[in-house]
Amino acid sequence: MSAQISSAPPGAVDKVGEREPLLSIRGLRVGFRKAGSQFEAVRGIDLDVAKGEVVGIVGESGSGKSVGMLAALGLTSKNAVVTGSVRFNGDELVGKPAREMRKIRGARIAMIFQDPLSSLNPVMTVGAQIAEAVRLHHRVTRKQAMARAVELLHLVAIPQPERRVNQYPHEFSGGMRQRAVIAMAVANDPDLLIADEPTTALDVTVQAQILAVLRSLQERLGLGLVLITHDLGVVAGHADRVAVVYSGRVVEQAGVSELFADPRHPYTRGLIASIPNLEESRERLFSIDGSPPALGRLPGGCAFHPRCIYAAARCRTEDPPLHDVGGRFSACHFATTLPPFHSAVLAAASLDSGDVAP
C-alpha cells in the first residue's frame, strides 16, 4: 500500500510542469508515538503548489489536513515521525536541520492559523510581533522594523496603522487580529503562504473581508497560497485547484470547476451534496452516513468504504491508490465508472434508501 502512495502520481508532475512547482509533496506520512502505541494521522499526501497558485485542501476536522501542512514545515511536536518528501523550490524539507528550517519558515514559507484570538502573543504589542518577524530574517534596526510593521498594517487595510502598531492584541477586534496575523505572515515577502482555516473563527461578514485581503495580497505579491478549510464554499470561490483529504490521505485532486462539476470520488460527492442549497428546498440536509474512522482504527481496504453508498466487495479488501483519471486524480476503484453526478439526485436517492442519518 505504502509503495503505491509514496510513488508520485505520474501525471501530477506533468500537469504542474507547465507552471514551475513551488511546493511538491510526495507520500507525506506523519505518525505519532504515544505511550508505546503508534498511529498515523497522515497516511500519504501528494500535493503540488505552483507559483501564484491557490490550492484548497478540504477535509473534516481530524482528517490530517492541518497536521500534514504543519509537518511539511517541521512544526509538528517532538513525538511525530515524518516521512516522505516535501520539496520547496527543489529543496528537500523533510529531515532538514532545525536551524535551516528556521531560515525558511516565516521568510520563504509563512503559515497562519485558525484562531486570531490566540495566535497573537497577548503581552506583546502587535507592532512588536510584526517587527519581530521582520528582524528574525533581516538585519534591520528596531526602528526600521517598526516602520515596516506600520507599512504592513497599512497593506492589510488596518486604519490608523501608526497608532495601531503600539496596541496590544486585546485592543483589536477578531477580524483586525487576523489581518495583523496576515501582515506578519507576509512581512518577509514569502513565496508560499499556508492558511490553516483562516476564517473559521470569524463572523461571516468578516470572513469575506479576510478572504478578500488574502486574495488581493496573493495576487499582488504573486504568492502561492494553500487554503486549508472544511468549507467548500471558500474553496469554490477562491481556489484554482482542490485536494480532498479523508482520514489522512488525499482521495481526490482536481481543478476547482472540474471537481464541483464532476467529482470522481464518493466522499467528494457526499461533501458537495451536503452543502445547503437555497434553490432546492429540502426538508432535511444531506449528510454522509457514519463518522470518520478513529485514528489507528482504520477499516481494511478503502478507508471510506463503510460510509460509501457505492462500496463493493473489492473496496473492503483493497485500498485504492490515488491515480490519474484524465488529468485529475482520484483514489476510488470506480473513479471512471461512477454514475453521472447531480448533488440533488444523490441526496434524494440516499434519503429515499434510508442511508442517511436524520
Partner: protein, 326 residues
C-alpha cells in the same frame, strides 16, 4: 490600606494581652518578685498598672510619632532594635529570593520543556525536597557538608567577627562593603550569605518551579507559540520571549507572596545560621515575653507583607497589558 495597618497594630497589641505569661517576669529579677514595692514600682514604670484601653491609646499615640516603645530586655527603643536587625533579614531574604526565583523559573521552564524526561523528574524531586525538608534539617545538613566536612564555606554568622566592618549606609553588608570598596569584607559577607540564602531560597523555589512548569505547559500549547515558531523564531526565543513572559503574571504573585513570607518566615534559618536578623530577634523576644519587641516585630512583619503586596500589584500591571486600560 490605612485600615489594614490599624488592624495589624490592634491585633498584635491584643494578642500580647491574652497570653498567659506575666511580662513582669521579664522586667523584675526573680528574687525581687516577692517584694511588692519593687513589683508596684515596675508596674508604674512600664505603665502596666493602667487599664488596657488606656495602654492601647498610649501605644497608638506613640506609634504615630514613630515610637514602637522600649524593649523590656535591651532597654532600647524597639524601633531602633528592629532598624538594626531588619537589613540583615532583608539582605538574607533578597539573596534567598534570587536563588529561589532563579532556580524556580529555570527548573520550571526546563521541566515543562522536557516534560516527563529525567530533567522533569529531577526538578520535581528537587522541588519536593525544598518544600518538605524542614529548614533546621536541610540547613544543618548543608552546613555540616559544606562547612565542616568540605570546609568550602564559612560557618554560621553574617561575617567573620575579626573583620572591621564598613560604615553602615544601607545596612546590607554586601552593598556597604562594596560602597566602601572593601573587597575582603564583601567576599567574606558573600560567602557567609551563600548557604543560608540557598537553604531559604530552596524552600520557595519548589513552589515557584511547580507553578512555572504548570503555566508553561499551558502556554506552550497555545497558538501564538506555534505562530512564533512559524515566524522562524528559535526555540530559545519561543520559550523565553513568548512563553515565559506569559507565565510571569501568576508567577509574580507567588514571588511576591514568597518574599513577604520569608521576611517573617526566616526565623528558623536565622536561628540555625546565627543570623542577627529580625527572626532571631523575634525568637529572643518571645522567649523573654518582651511584649513591646513582640508587638514591634509583628507590626513590621505585617507592614512588610502589605508593602510587598502593593509592589506585586504594581508589577502585575507592568507584566500584564490587559489590565492596564481598565
Amino acid at each position: 490600606m490605612p485600615f489594614l495597618v490599624l488592624g495589624i497594630v490592634t491585633i498584635a497589641f491584643l494578642i500580647t494581652t491574652v497570653t498567659k505569661g506575666d511580662p513582669l517576669t521579664a522586667i523584675v529579677a526573680e528574687q525581687q518578685m516577692s517584694n511588692p514595692e519593687v513589683v508596684a514600682a515596675a508596674k508604674t514604670r512600664w505603665g502596666l498598672d493602667r487599664p488596657l484601653p488606656e495602654r492601647y491609646m498610649i501605644y497608638l499615640g506613640n506609634l504615630l510619632s514613630g515610637d514602637l516603645g522600649t524593649s523590656f530586655i535591651t532597654k532600647r527603643n524597639v524601633g531602633t532594635d528592629i532598624l538594626y536587625r531588619l537589613p540583615a533579614t532583608l539582605e538574607l531574604v533578597f539573596a534567598a529570593m534570587i536563588f529561589g526565583t532563579t532556580l524556580g523559573i529555570v527548573l520550571g521552564v526546563l521541566a515543562a520543556y522536557f516534560r516527563n524526561s529525567l530533567i522533569d523528574h529531577g526538578a520535581r524531586l528537587f522541588a519536593l525536597l525544598g518544600s518538605s525538608l524542614p529548614v533546621f534539617w536541610s540547613g544543618l545538613g548543608l552546613l555540616f557538608i559544606f562547612s565542616v566536612m568540605l570546609n568550602w564555606l564559612p560557618g554560621p554568622g553574617r561575617v567573620d567577627a575579626r573583620l572591621a566592618l564598613p560604615p553602615g549606609i544601607t545596612g546590607f553588608l554586601t552593598i556597604d562593603s562594596l560602597l566602601a570598596g572593601d573587597w575582603t569584607v564583601f567576599k567574606d559577607a558573600l560567602w557567609h550569605l551563600l548557604l543560608p540564602a540557598f537553604v531559604l531560597g530552596w524552600t520557595v523555589s519548589g513552589t515557584i518551579s511547580r507553578l512555572v512548569r504548570a503555566n508553561m505547559l499551558d502556554v506552550m500549547s497555545r497558538e501564538f507559540v506555534l505562530t512564533a515558531r512559524a515566524k522562524g523564531a528559535s526555540e530559545f526565543r519561543v520559550v523565553i520571549v513568548h512563553a515565559l513572559r506569559n507565565t510571569m503574571v501568576p508567577t509574580l504573585t507567588v514571588i511576591g507572596y514568597s518574599f513577604a513570607y520569608l521576611i517573617t518566615g526566616a526565623v528558623l534559618t536565622e536561628t540555625i545560621f546565627s543570623w542577627p536578623g529580625m527572626g532571631s530577634y523575634a525568637v529572643e523576644a518571645a522567649r523573654a515575653l518582651d511584649f513591646p519587641a513582640i508587638i514591634g516585630v509583628t507590626i513590621v512583619g505585617g507592614l512588610a507583607f502589605l508593602v510587598t503586596n502593593l509592589i506585586t500589584d504594581i508589577l502585575y500591571v507592568v507584566a500584564n497589558p490587559r489590565v492596564r486600560l481598565s
